[in-house]
Amino acid sequence: MRWRSWSPPALTVMAVIIIWELAVHLLRVPEYLLPAPSGVVSAMVAEWRYLTFHTWVTTQEILLGFTLAVVVGLPTAMGIVYSPLVERSIYPLLVASQSVPKIAIAPLLIFWAGIGLLPKVLVAFLISFFPIIIDTVVGLRSVEPEMLHLARSMGAAERKIFLKIRFPTALPNIFAGLKVAVTLAVVGAIVGEFIQADQGLGYALLQANAVLNTKLGFAAILVLAALGVVMFLAVDLIEKKLIPWHASQRSELAAGTL
């Protein structure tokens, strides 16, 4: 089962790499235009210290921005679900705020928050908190009304209903939001670095381009892609550990037994 689901994309990637490698050599494409995959790998090996340093910087920005989005997003969603006043005063504004392209306000953030880690964290946060709020609101509201009736007939306080019923019920939705958010946080961090930075993978990418070191640019992109995948898989892993009962996980289990 595993091999069957992994093999088609793996084979496709291998084929693309081989064709790419051959095409670069046969057509004599200059290295600054398009480096061969082997060149990218050798650049990655040669510059691994440099790349590791900048990867660590970007990772910090992503994790801080994402954490901030979770810390702000979950309570905001709870406020929206529990208080009609909060819902009416915040929710429409939140939705409207999403029509403002975050990338457009990134330069302003740099202007306000100065240089360094903070502005990148803020861009990552701004771009990733919205799906967390939306999905958490949907999740917290997905409790069947009968379940809430039962809980009240059991004489339970609202706090207990939240902890034992509402929050666990919302977890699958919350994790759906977290997965979208963490990939957006990667985008946010890089956008922040593009605008102004002296370290981080976005900075490394711009530097490499500036000196026509396309090999290194590709290497940075590759590391960035890997970073995004690792972030996503980390959230996915936590989800599987935390809510093994969730239906989407269940169907995977069922499919795995075939």
């Binding site: 009968e146 009736h149 007939s153 059991m154």
Partner: protein, 269 residues
């Protein structure tokens, strides 16, 4: 409380729901009472306010006017001294059958460890021995509903409200559940308010049946069922049983809930 005394009193109950198309009168002056220890069914067509009635008695909804009293006290807040079973089992997906039963205990702030043995006993008594550790998605619809019934009984409430508890089950499972419910309720000396649209179920299980009219829901007639207990499935072929069922069906015909094929001038339902 002594058997035969009024445990639940419903008087002149009116409940109106505002809708965009105007007010809908779900219940229109409903009065009856449930005696301690009896099995009372409420049977009526869809939309006659049966479920509204459950909500009002459980204190989960306020009446527009009229009064509900349980054990002599006016119901003005969610009642906790009862067990409720809905049409859907509404189990928590991440809890085992046993832990779903114990939810009732945990939510009440009681110690689940002290109720573990009783929960196991209850699950065994409804044929779920060996399924205590299963998650809801590993159980059939009938089994899930049995877990829901155990959850409604674990704290040994005097009153059990059941709102179409077999509505989502297949016919064979319904038959078995009907028998099981009879066993559970007569053993425990429970007072049961059972809401159904099945005439057969109502006659089979009840001491008395409240027949409701179509919307706006009113009490049409209250029928005493005098059949010996415990009742076997075969009692349904008994002429006395058939007569009770026919009485209720006739009431439904009078109110246009059912139209027989030979009724002239009536469009088929």
């Amino acid at each position: 409380m002594l058997n035969g005394q009024k445990l639940v009193e419903v008087s002149e109950l009116i409940r109106v729901f505002p809708t965009p198309e105007g007010e809908v009168r779900a219940l229109d002056g409903v009065s009856f009472d449930v005696r301690a220890g009896e099995f009372l069914s409420i049977v009526g067509p869809s939309g006659c306010g049966k479920s509204t009635l459950t909500m009002l008695i459980a204190g989960l909804m306020r009446p527009t006017s009229g009064l509900v009293a349980v054990d002599g006290r006016t119901v003005d807040r969610p009642q906790t001294n009862l067990g409720i079973v809905f049409q859907n089992a509404v189990l928590l997906a991440w809890r085992t059958a046993l832990d779903n039963v114990l939810l009732q205990v945990e939510m009440r702030g009681l110690d689940p460890r002290q109720y573990r043995d009783r929960a196991m006993e209850l699950l065994h008594s409804v044929g779920l021995a060996g399924f205590e550790r299963r998650l809801p998605h590993e159980l059939s619809g009938g089994m899930r509903q049995r877990v829901a019934i155990c959850r409604a009984l674990i704290h040994d409430p005097p009153l059990l409200l059941m709102d179409e508890p077999f509505g989502a089950l297949d016919a064979l499972t319904r038959d078995q559940m009907t028998l099981d419910i009879q066993g559970i309720c007569t053993r425990g000396g429970k007072t049961v308010l059972f809401i159904t649209h099945s005439i057969i179920e109502a006659v089979f299980l009840s001491d008395r049946i409240v027949v409701m009219t179509p919307r706006p829901g009113r009490v049409d007639v209250i029928i005493e069922v005098d059949l010996p207990r415990p009742r076997r499935l075969a009692v349904r072929e008994d002429p006395t049983f058939a007569a009770y069922a026919r009485d209720i069906r006739d009431r439904f015909m009078v109110h246009g809930v059912l139209h027989d094929i030979d009724t002239p001038g009536q469009a088929p339902a």
